[in-house]
Amino acid sequence: MTTTTKYREKVLSYWLFIAIWGVCLNTYGQNRLIRGAVQQASDGAPLSGATVLIKGSTQGTFTQEDGRYQIEVPSDNATLVFKYVGFEEQEVPVAGRTTIDISMIASDQYLDEIVVIGYGSVKKSDLTGSVSSLKADDLTPGANISVDQMLQGRAPGVLISQKSGEPGSAMSVKIRGASSISASNEPLYVIDGLPVNNDPVITGTGSGFVGSQNPRNPLNSLNPTDIESIEILKDASATAIYGARGANGVVLITTKKGTGGSMRLTYDGYYGIQSVANQLELLNPSQYQSTLNAIIDEGGGNANERVDNIQGSGTDWQAELYRDAPVQSHNLSFSGGTQNSSYFVSLNYFGQDGVVDYSGIDRYTARLNLESRVEGKYAFGINLTTALLNDDFVSNGVGLNENGGAVYAAINYDPTISVFDDNGDFNRSPFITIDNPLALAQGEQAEAQTYNTLGTIYGEYFFLPSLSARVKLGGNISNSRRDVWIDPISLDGQQNGGIATIITGSRSQYLLEGTLNYNDTFGKHRVNGVIGATYERFDSENFNGNGRGYTLPDLQTNAIGSGDPLQNQIGSSKNLTKLASYLGRVNYSFDEKYLVTLSMRADGSSRFGLDNRFGFFPSAAFAWNLHNEAFIGTDNLFSQLKFRASYGVIGNQSIPNYLFLTTFALNNRDVVLEGSRFTAIAPSRAASPDLQWEETNQLDIGIDFGLYNNRIRGTVEYYNRKTTDLLLPVPLPPNSGFNSRIENIGSMRNDGWELFLETFLISTNAFNWTISANLTTINNEVLDIGDAENIITGNLGFVSSASIIRPGDPLNSYYGYVVEGVWQEGDDFLATTDAVAPGDIKYQDLNGDGTINADDRQIIGKPFPDFTWGLTNTLTYKDLSLTVFIEGVHGIELLSNNLVDTYFPINFRRNKIAEPYLNRWTPSNPTNEYPSFVNPTAQGQRVVNTRTVTDASYIRLQTVRLAYNVPVTNSGFFKQLTVFATGQNLATLTDYIGVDPAANALGNNVLRIDYNTYPFARTTMLGLTLGF
């Protein structure tokens, strides 16, 4: 019996108790002992953990591992009820017997599957909302530190992409588009019933260190192997119970529990090698020399910047910096239990070196899940996990020029010089102010150590079998310390005499939750309800200190105070938020045909002013199990046909604290007077006293179907989410001294279709072929942004104003110039007043005024795909199985800032992306594709244009996994031995010029700009699972 079924059984047991509550008081009489065994009808194998109940009472027992049970019944007239998840329930009258053996027949497992929903669980057939339910086996295999990587492409409506290859960096996770302009678009993660605060523990990268803007993945501290199931709640009916945090969808993560019986020991492990999947194709040394010199000959650059010679064979800086790197995971779990209690214990090590030198992540986790339960009386449980994360960072952020990181330097550095000079020191180009890439990688060191403990404890008491009270306490505590050292071997370190930074942070959250649960059945009516109250508190604090000018730099951050005392800088911050909520839900079903769900949550948050502190989030859903209707169910075409519809209101409160208050804060810079610095205090913000939640009204209509005995099954769904009262940083006239004030203004809509289809194409005893496919369309439209005509935003590096927020268009559409081609000899140059020459880029003069300026900008791309899909093929032949997973993203654009640097070089001698330069315009090659690059900045900063914003659609062979179940069941020692080989990120089909079409250097997941992307890894690995 698996851990899953044990859990499902417990839930089902509630239903049973409800059914018999009405007669339970009349059941006492003379007792008699019944014995027997329960087995599967198909193969006669014993079923352990099956429930045996006396009908009409609360008394019951479970079968032992050999399937045997014994139970005292009050009289010969009693009836026993046998239940086991996935099997048809049986009622057997005792009729005077003392031995009753039972064979149980498998039921329609798919529809009987238990799905966890917020504050409860239901059978899949009773679902009224839109929920994607994934069991551990459904997740994408591979070398994954965090669970979101395993969800990639798995569920319709859920767009997950990797933004950078840096180990442990956050994924972009968007459920049904983006609901908010400035508040978070991340879903709420709920781990074992605890809604998790995902804010980073540490902000800031450390003085002088160019860290990635992309935050650390908050799910890194959760061991994916511990996960039993993941439910993704998408529509309002499912998410409204999470109220003000539900608008972006909710991801419920349930960890494994022990199962009855003797201890089971399982080892899972793998070891793999990662290599760089794709690096930028830059000019090689000889191309660099010939192209740059040719441009000088044509009047570009500067005569003294000519490339005279190539030292040795030059240097491929990317190759110097990148490497093949190992990744491994080792997981040991113990589980078992007795009739009333169970345990699950696991230990995990995960280690991943980065494909860029000096980067990687290590994780150690331990978990203890305990549960004790007497059916119908009480239950008590604890889930506790603790993790230690060691991060090692290489500078790969978006800093510029002298402040650039190692990856940036490797892309831009002169390829004609050698790594080291004749003295063995790092070679530095006199023409380029960026530091040597390897000096940056080696000299700029950052490490972080994070401890995270997450736990919940609950106790439940049954006043009646149909009525219970449950109290839950939860906590999630993270402590982190980041040490950064800029060594004098780097230019920055040399200039500053070494820079040491220590940042510490702690973040904690506490949950107190009480719920009353009611389940009952009256004839064909079934009612299930929950009401409750929760209180949550979130604290965070940070400290950072940095020093410079170390005459003895040996001790680095271990003696941070040994630098120049005048240059020491310190800072700190502290935050507190509280959330108090009331929630309730009723599920009603009639005759297994008509299902209704009503839910609500009232959330009170300290983020909002007194008058708007509480928000109310109701939802309603209706579902109709058509397959249970006589007019459908007569033939066997439909094994399932369910129509469902839901509507509700959900909220978003993911904005900074205290925006409704007028306060003063430390100015980010001191004033300089009398040759010293003095602390300045400035107004914190333009306060918005009437601030309240964002509200998302979501409509969802879907049909779930199963054909030919569920040989083909699927879901077709339409969603329409309209967010109103957007938490929008309304641009204030800068003459007020403020840029913006967060107000509830404007609205935005996301709508689209979701399709899920699974077919058991071939299903024989030896050979099986299953195809699972999903497809999502997204249509995002900003409807209203208040009085402002538009909001132009999007800054990175030297690019500013890359995107626009404008009613009628998708959020953060790229806003720039259309390139018509290249000015050719013989063109009519009188048509323009701009200083252009043949070979320069010809922009579209939208208003025909003869000059290219801001008025000629238009929307040239969008950051949302038209549609995305995932396709999984699973082929099994006897004990061999092959899984192939492909995903696709179509109709999306991406701004490459590395292409911007290629088209508009920061300085002449930097290296460039090869393609445009090798095929550039010359009088003898009058192309319209690429300019001559002789005078690339003649027309100023028109950097956001249709040459730099390009199509970023792709199809990716994400995973191939080949596994073999070694038949060991008879060996007596192992219970299971599976060996597998997995390949990850094996191939990508795309027209995009860059490291990866999914790359994004911004922390934001809606606006996308690719810049100095840490290369993505291609991984091949071998692993095994051993069960004892």
Binding site: P430, S572, T679, I681, P734, A788, N907
Partner: protein, 488 residues
């Protein structure tokens, strides 16, 4: 089980009772409440400091200097990310979308104004502050606000006149008269409560000299010649200011707080607080200049990709033999490989090295940015006298004081033969004196040459409307009452 039952009931009750609104009261633990800041001298001074932070431009003053010079006959720029913006100013194609206009020329002064307004709005409530202190704090805030408006007026013409934090978000542009009257009266009013130069509590804070200096320049740029003379006389009457004997030392780190400086933006050789102009002035691989060998680049200094260059037609007007000021222009330098490099072999490639700190750290040189120097007062005074009375001996002497310090011979009546001739000579003198101090644009505009000189440089987009910069689109998009300058 009974006890568990009781505990559960108790917990449920607790949650239900305490999940009420009072528990949601949160006092921001990391922010100051208005009552803490605004009730005492320390808090209000810290708020005044925040106005000074914006006023002093943090690290952004190099942008202002460059915009005001590459658009004229003086400076030039290539390379680096800055060139993406500066190339617009070189080609006269700047528009309302330019980030530097929105941030450095607009949002920054308005943040200084906001902080000053916040102080002025709340000063009356600050019971614990002595009256005299209040008066001086108010005078400094009014000075910062008026100087910010003078800059805005100089760049964009009349702008929304925000004088209190209580005004509505949307605010129309003031009339020309309102603007002129406000700046003049505020500066005049602040003079009386500001300390005498040398008596300010901390160097870098406003003095009577700073306010009169700004007022003089405001009168000059608005062509109120007789008032220029008046206020220059008031400065003279302070009896404090004089020319440093040696031009180069005016900017040297060791001579900070010298008596030539009426107003500076103080800088420190510390990360985040420096003068970062030199990083762009350094030519590639720079080690030291031939004319100023003591200015030697060290490995603790940065050298930027962008190149702050000067136009040959401007540099060639210098008396290269005698003019002491020309020493700060680099033509020939020794690079780190020991080679001698001559910059002027490429067009428009010489550099100005006014701000050099031997102890610079990274990007950050400690040299203060001069905003008003005494030589500027003398030349402004001379210019006003010339406009009023022609090239009088008094006016000539004012110019010659500046020339003598630079090692040049006195101007003669023959050279300054007419008002027009003298005006041109003063303009030329101002160029040599104030290169890399960001004054060229206003000087040319005042003399009506900003556009015509650009046309002479064959810049096709050199239209007359560009005498004013545009109101940035960030303002136009958010302020329905704001109107754009004509032509944009």
């Amino acid at each position: 089980m009974k006890s568990l039952y009781k505990i559960l009931c108790l917990l449920l009750l607790t949650i239900t009772l305490f999940s009420c609104e009072e528990t949601l009261e949160v006092v921001p633990p990391g922010e100051f409440s208005p009552s803490t800041v605004l009730s005492n001298e320390e808090g209000i001074t810290a708020l005044l400091y925040a106005a000074y932070v914006q006023f002093q431009y943090e690290l952004g003053y190099k942008n202002v200097i460059n915009m005001m010079e590459v658009s004229t006959d003086m400076a030039f720029n290539t390379g680096g990310g800055e060139n993406r913006t500066l190339s617009l100013f070189i080609a006269w194609t700047w528009d309302e979308s330019v980030g530097w206009i929105a941030n450095d020329l607009w949002a920054r002064p308005y943040r200084a104004i906001r902080n000053a307004n916040t102080l002025l709005d709340n000063l009356d409530e600050a019971g614990d502050v002595p009256e005299a202190t209040k008066n001086q704090l108010a005078a400094e805030a009014r000075f910062i606000r008026a100087k910010s408006y003078a800059d805005l007026y100089n760049w964009m013409g009349p702008v929304p006149l925000r004088t209190s934090t209580e005004q509505e978000d949307a605010l129309p542009r003031a009339s020309d008269e309102e603007m002129l009257a406000f700046i003049e009266s505020e500066l005049t009013a602040s003079v009386s409560d500001l300390p005498n130069p040398g008596e300010e509590s901390q160097y870098g804070r406003a003095t009577k000299g700073s306010a009169l200096g700004i007022l003089t320049k405001f009168y000059l740029n608005t062509r109120q010649w007789d008032k220029v003379v008046q206020s220059a006389n008031q400065i003279e009457a302070l009896g404090y200011y004089e020319l440093m004997p040696d031009f180069e030392s005016v900017f040297a780190i060791g001579n900070e707080a010298n008596r030539e400086l009426l107003l500076v933006f103080p800088k420190l050789a510390e990360a985040g607080y420096g003068n970062n102009f030199s990083n762009g002035s350094f030519p590639p691989n720079f080690l030291r200049s031939v004319t100023l060998p003591q200015y030697e680049w060290t490995t603790s200094m940065a050298n930027w990709a962008t190149q702050y260059r000067l136009q040959d037609d401007f540099v060639n007007t210098y008396d290269k033999e005698n003019d002491e000021r020309f020493k700060l222009i680099i033509d020939t330098y020794i690079n780190r490989d020991g080679d001698t490099v001559q910059l002027s072999t490429s067009p428009n490639n010489t550099r100005c090295l006014k701000y050099f700190d031997q102890n610079a750290i990274g990007n950050h040189h400690g040299n203060d940015f001069p905003v008003i120097r005494y030589s500027d007062i003398l030349l402004s005074w001379a210019e006003a006298l010339n406009e009023l009375n022609g090239p009088t001996a008094e006016a000539l002497e004012l110019v010659n004081r500046v020339r003598r310090r630079a090692g040049l011979a006195d101007l003669t009546n023959a050279e300054a033969s007419s008002t027009d001739a003298f005006r041109d000579l003063i303009l030329q003198e101002r160029g040599w004196e104030f290169v890399a101090e960001g004054k060229r644009r206003e000087d040319l505009v005042r003399q009506g040459k900003f556009v015509s000189l650009a046309q002479e440089r064959n810049i096709a987009n050199a239209d007359a409307f560009r005498e004013l910069f545009p109101i940035p689109e960030t303002e136009l998009n958010a302020n329905p009452m704001a109107t754009q300058n004509p032509g944009y």
